[in-house]
Subunit: 222 residues, 2 copies
DNA sequence: AAAAAAAATTAAAATATTTTAAGAAATCAG
DNA sequence: CTGATTTCTTAAAATATTTTAATTTTTTTT
């Protein structure tokens, strides 16, 4: 009979952010180490359970400009980024690409609605640089939750963070000017400005590349 | 020993959306019926567990213009709207109110970050009309999760939906014009246009009331 | 390393949105 | 019900942002 973690316990783990050191997942399984450490940063997960994760995920490397997912297809996997950088975008009625998210190391990426409901995806996911991901299919995803139940708390936290982060992102998008949104991006994810082409950043901020250029010029001369 | 629902099971419940009829929660406890039905629309919850919910929530009625929460205070409760309409807004650096969300019947509302971390809230929550809510404090919230574990699945779904819904809302805000966002609101939440003053709607759409007026005029004459 | 392609910058003209101001319509308080 | 207040609309002027187009810089390909 397993003991269920109370909400309180999981929150403690969440905020204290205890980290366990792994010794048995090494060498060829290096990419799993990244995922396991990320999970253990958020919940308690025995090294034994951790070592079982290897059975659920496969690894994949994609080159710059290659796609992990194209809108219209059914998203068969959820992806964890071990190394690299991806962009998520939609194509609107006018045929224009709109970048809505950038994923880097330790981010989960996917079209979750498509993955769950087996509906055609709305998003494109493309590599901005050579990227290594771990992926899990739907069958193993379900198995994961029933066979390693602690994991449910980890994803609970992931979804909760996603919901909270996006809530404040919406607030910002409404109340900030494009210049303020750019300043905020510089503060929160400075590495993106090095890794992501400016035209994608502009689209993410909801402005044209030309206008982003003007903003950058204005900032640098003040 | 309780049986844990697998991810698969809870998803089935989610999408099939089975509904159970309650007969024992009636009369003076009518407001709980709304919550219980909402929960049972998403997960399986025995009528016995359902009847215990009464112990966790209190009810409160607030009048038009009254506040449930003000930024700066610590949010001690999460709220479920039984009847009425609330707005969530932030005040930006220029002192301007920015509405980011409207809650109506069956919506959960609160500053969840503040509630969890006991930090000062960033949001104001104010009634747009006379509103009846059920509220739960942090201690009972934790107790709820450990004593009625099925509920965790319900909130898992709530967070997941919030994360997904907000994701697509961000995508829209970037790729739609104000006019398209207004059209989308008409489609998705037509009742809000009757219940919420236009100046709040304008703020929610990220435009001035004057410009919303122009959009409405343009739409009505085409 | 050179040629070709893609991305970033600059500036001017065009368009979208806000601001200001005033009047009309709707709602509120006594 | 009536006056007072708030909300909504309209229009003109001001500002922000996009579009277009040309040039420079950077990246990719050969």
């Amino acid at each position: 009979m397993r003991k269920s973690l109370s909400s309180f316990q999981f929150l403690e783990t969440f905020f204290i952010g205890s980290r366990f050191v792994l010794s048995d997942i090494e060498g060829e399984h290096g990419m799993y180490k990244t995922l396991i450490e990320h999970i253990q940063n958020h919940i308690k997960l025995s090294d034994q359970s951790a070592s079982r994760l290897v059975d659920y995920f496969e690894s994949k490397e994609i080159n710059k400009k290659e796609y992990l997912l194209k809108a219209g297809a059914i998203s068969r996997f959820e992806y964890f980024i071990v190394r690299g950088c991806l962009r998520v975008f939609v194509i609107d009625a006018k045929g224009v690409e709109n970048n809505i998210r950038f994923g880097t190391e330790n981010w989960w990426i996917g079209d979750f609605t498509s993955f769950l409901k087996k509906e055609p995806a709305s998003y494109f996911i493309q590599a901005i640089e050579k990227t290594e991901v771990l992926l899990i299919n739907r069958i193993k995803w379900d198995r994961l939750f029933s066979e390693i139940p602690e994991i449910a708390f980890y994803f609970h936290i992931m979804f909760q963070n996603a919901a909270l982060g996006q809530q404040s992102k919406i607030a910002q998008h409404i109340s900030y000017t494009p210049e303020q949104r750019y300043q905020d991006l510089i503060e929160k994810r400075p590495e993106l400005l090095q890794r992501v082409p400016q035209k994608y950043i502009a689209s993410y901020l909801g402005i044209t590349p030309e206008f982003l250029s003007m903003i950058r010029k204005k900032i640098s001369t003040s």
